[in-house]
Symmetry: none
Subunit: 128 residues, 2 copies
DNA sequence: CCCTTATATGAGTCAATGCTTATGCGCTAT
DNA sequence: ATAGCGCATAAGCATTGACTCATATAAGGG
């Protein structure tokens, strides 16, 4: 199962959020998720299994309890995959920042730049 | 459809990779994906639709061709969701280089805002 | 105009996945 | 020992979603 398939499920994302602050027992996780999603204990257990088997979580025994914690490797994989798109939104952010800065400057110094010299609007989204 | 569901499909991930370098026509994308995954033209078109309808791609007409490009917003959402786990792998000291690179980029983008002054992440939310 | 090219849509099928109920199995405590 | 808790697994069912083939639409070139 690919990392993105694992993260595709809202319950599993919520479980990871709960584990982000540190170890939690299966019971604690189950209580929260049962409450929020209205699903059964076995359902949560099955999600925990998916997280385990795909390397998103490790588990350790504490008496009869199972303590789960985040295992970061696959999340890092996702992060690295996103790497190639950061350029895409950096460009957008830079453009936005430039636009905002220009607007602010123009509001303060009305006459500094004549109209028609700014960047053109990016193409609008289109419905074919 | 949640961003992670969209990214759960390997064909759609591949399409986004192809678009990461800039605009490409539906035909170009289809040719590559057909070759690599052995699926039909309509199948690729349906994936393009999913990307469009979920805000991952924008399309613009060029005669009979459709030129697709990445729309970064939902990828940024994913990136922000990952944010809370970066601490987890910092503790593991696994991705020092990645983190340093990111830190440098963020310092460049936030030169005028000192760290620790931004809002904290809200709980996971859906984008309609 | 007709034919071809480029892309999108519709209907139908099939497999994957997430849920439920029922049950198993190891700890813990009485 | 035995009952009860905590958690996992099994089996069955329903839904979702990705594919195929067939077809629609629209632009461009003779």
């Amino acid at each position: 199962m690919h990392a993105f398939d694992v993260l595709g499920d809202p319950v599993r994302r919520r479980v990871l959020e709960l584990l982000a602050d540190g170890e939690r027992s299966a019971g604690e996780v189950t209580a929260v998720v049962r409450e929020e999603f209205g699903i059964s204990q076995p359902a949560v257990s099955q999600h925990l299994r998916v997280l385990r088997e795909n390397g998103f979580a490790r588990v350790r025994a504490d008496g009869a309890r199972r303590l789960y914690a985040v295992e970061p490797a696959p999340l890092q994989d996702v992060d690295r995959w996103l790497e190639r798109f950061r350029g895409t939104w950096d460009r957008h952010l830079d453009a936005l920042a430039t636009e905002l800065a220009r607007g602010k400057r123009e509001r303060r110094l009305r006459e500094e730049r004549p109209p028609g010299t700014g960047p053109v609007d990016p193409p609008e989204e289109e419905r074919p």
